[in-house]
């Protein structure tokens, strides 16, 4: 017994030391896993605490339509690319919903909802743009004006997405110098895949539809040696030289890596989103509101905990002190885990944490009430410890297992149906309940044993135990 509790004491002290280090806001916790850098220096705060924007997009298809999982995944990746352009530190983009037909985008700390939603919702117009003979194409990434004349007979998307002059009589002569003419849009492409040339350099193979074939064939045979720009949403993504007349199928070679080739092929295939998306929910939380909620709940928590500590000390005396230390251990380990996993702390998450703190306190109270009973029945303190603990254990175990069951079901529902509040609550409660079980099982017991073993005076003073 002596040896075992000493071992546990060491485990607890080590766990505490690590937890304190992790929880301290000044700690620098950056790990490198493979080529990924993981930064855990800060708590991950939910949008409701740090402010930010959340947008829920849904596939805008008639009811009953089968949702193509691959198309949804591609749409998600396109949205991801667009969002990355906003420069948000840790955006989250996930597919959600029973039919996986929703994409949720979270932009923590981002404050311009207009820009965010405009960026996410842009329809994604892919154009092949004519670079006049002898001219160099604009640099990759440059934003250009394009004009889509009707004569190409390839759909340029609906008029709203074509900001160029709508008049059909407009010709290239009357347009400002910087406006390029669109040869055809992504609709003329049948497919685009990644391949490799003889040297193994990645390139892109594409095939054309009948219309595309006709337009592209005629144009490329007349313009060998000229540049042709591939433009997505008015941004140049590539500008290869026309090396031969292209009909039916062609290749784009350039300075590609496997990744950039894949990305371009994806954009060529799905330049416009493969699934139309509509915004079905959006939430914008100003940073001041989140900060205010956080500060107030922190202050309330501090006041509440102070009163709890005072009450525990006054009512349970020595065990009260042990309970306070055990709860402190519980709190630090739990918070350290929240930071490391990381668990997103929202208001719902804090409620879950609060509830598990309650059950950690309850476990201590259960043990001490049993201890008092055993002491009143005339047992010595040393003899009372084991039975007190054994009798309190089934109730602690069963009530916490019930809580864990509730957590698992809530979490499952939350993730399957995209109810992030339910999910946030379940995660913090789950972690909290597990740690509170550990604290009841190990920490309170070890501290109690240590007190009895090391401070021999306590045996003669049952009043210290509130008896």
């Amino acid at each position: 017994m002596q040896q075992r509790f000493l071992n546990w004491l060491i485990v607890i002290v080590v766990a505490l030391a690590i937890s304190i280090y992790v929880v301290l806001p000044t700690s620098h916790l950056v790990f490198t896993l493979g080529n990924q850098t993981i930064d855990r220096s800060q708590f991950r705060q939910g949008l409701d605490l740090q402010g930010g924007i959340q947008v829920l997009l849904e596939a805008d298809l008639p009811a009953g339509t089968n949702i193509n999982a691959v198309a949804m995944e591609t749409a998600k990746r396109i949205v991801e690319q667009r969002v990355n352009g906003l420069g948000v530190a840790e955006p989250t983009i996930q597919t959600q919903g029973e039919r996986r037909d929703r994409i949720v985008v979270e932009l923590p700390g981002f404050t311009d909802p207009e820009q965010a939603i405009a960026t996410i919702r842009q329809t994604g117009l892919l154009e092949f743009v004519i670079i006049p003979t002898g001219e160099l194409p604009p640099a990759e990434g440059a934003v250009i004006q394009t004009y889509c004349p009707v004569v190409t007979q390839v759909d340029c998307g609906n008029p709203a997405q074509t900001p160029a002059p709508a008049s059909t009589e407009a010709t290239t002569d009357t347009l400002p110098a910087k406006t390029y003419v669109t040869l055809m849009t992504g609709a003329a492409l049948q497919d685009a895949t990644v391949g490799a040339d003889e040297l193994g350099n990645p390139l892109i193979n594409f095939t054309l539809t009948g219309d595309g074939n006709r337009i592209f064939g005629a144009f490329t045979s007349a313009h060998i040696g000229d540049y042709l720009a591939i433009v997505l949403d008015k941004t140049v993504i590539s500008a290869p030289v026309i090396q031969a007349a292209i009909t039916d199928r062609g290749q784009i070679s350039g300075n590609f890596t496997i990744d950039s080739a894949n990305q371009l092929a994806l954009q060529l295939r799905y330049g416009s989103l493969p699934v139309p998306l509509k915004v079905v929910e959006s939430r914008v939380i100003g940073p001041s509101l989140g900060q205010d909620s956080l500060n107030r709940s922190l202050m309330a928590g501090a006041i509440g905990m102070t009163v709890v500590v005072l009450f525990m000390l006054l009512y349970y005396r020595l065990p009260g002190l042990i309970a306070v230390l055990a709860i402190l251990t519980y709190g630090l380990i739990t918070l350290a885990l929240f930071k490391l996993i990381p668990v997103t702390l929202s208001l719902a998450g804090i409620a879950g944490f609060l509830l598990s703190t309650g059950s950690a306190l309850d476990a201590n109270i259960l043990i001490f009430e049993r201890l008092k009973e055993e002491l009143r029945n005339g047992r010595s303190l040393r003899a009372a410890l084991a039975p007190a603990w054994q009798r309190a254990w089934p109730s602690i175990r069963d009530s916490n297992i019930a809580a864990v069951i509730i957590c698992l079901i809530l979490y499952w529902f939350g993730s399957a149906f995209g109810a992030s509040i339910v999910q946030g609550f379940a995660v913090t409660l789950f972690v909290g309940v597990l740690i509170s079980l550990f604290c009841a099982l190990v920490v309170t017991r070890t501290f109690l044993t240590a007190t009895v073993e090391w401070f021999h005076g306590v045996e003669e003073r049952p009043a210290w135990f509130g008896v």
């Binding site: 914008v284 928590g301 509440g304 009450f311 409620a351 109730s395 009530s399 509730i406 529902f413």
Partner: protein, 307 residues
Amino acid sequence: MDILGKRYWYFLLSLALIIPGLAAMGVWGLPLAIDFTGGSLLEVQFGSGQAPPPAEVTALYEQEFDITNTRVQTSGADVLIVRSPFIEEATRAEIVRAMEARFGGPVTLKRFDSVGPTIGQEVAARAALAVGVAALAVVVYIYFAFRGLPHALRYGVCAIIAMIHDVAVVLSLGAIGGHFFGWQIDSLFLTATLTVVGFSVQDKIVVFDRIRENSRIYRRLPFEFLANHSIVQTLQRSINTQLMTVQFLLLALALFGGVTLREFAITLVVGLLSGTYSSIFIAAPILVVWEKREWTRWFGRRAEAAA
């Protein structure tokens, strides 16, 4: 201490709380927020002393954007909350600009929630389903944990009846608060309800655990006496746990938290109090009523039982 002897009084007290609440729900309806009904909520901060009266904001929505059915609420100094049918982000931006133009000064966006109508209903239905499935799982678990006792299933069922009681108390509070203080049943309220459900089940198990333990020790005692004794033995723990979790932690939140958190904290205070109350005064008494099959005598001896 005879707690269970007056069990019908407790049932009466609970009914006296819940029935008006349910009636309030029936008459006024639950004040469901846009999280569940769909719609938009715009919270904006005006410059000091520049917040316009609510009626003018309603007028602005109607005249410039043709949006009727708005409800405007002041919240703290210079902060307005406008609830309206579903609007898009682009419209929201125009509204804020129109506010700046009409009422002067910079208007800061504090919060904008916009929920499509189908999404809202889904969330409500699924949260209810989640709680339902969780409750069922808890019944099964309690049945398993108490399998050594006769009629183990009863413990699970009674725990769930008491849990439903607590949820009913919370919803009643929501309905009444909604009517008199403009409270809204929003996702934060849903969180509070989940917390109450979790706490309630844990609390019931602790009390039932004592009955489980005592029924092994005192095999021959009548069940009512045994249950009563168990409640008395756990009473101190019930009170202390209740004080710790609810009164100290949450009253602090209710007193010092912000406006949004206050509703949340008050809901929790009432719900968790009900959670402890229902363990002692609802769940255990129903066990006794069930054990003694008292309903067979309800009609002949109602007056006596209630006296």
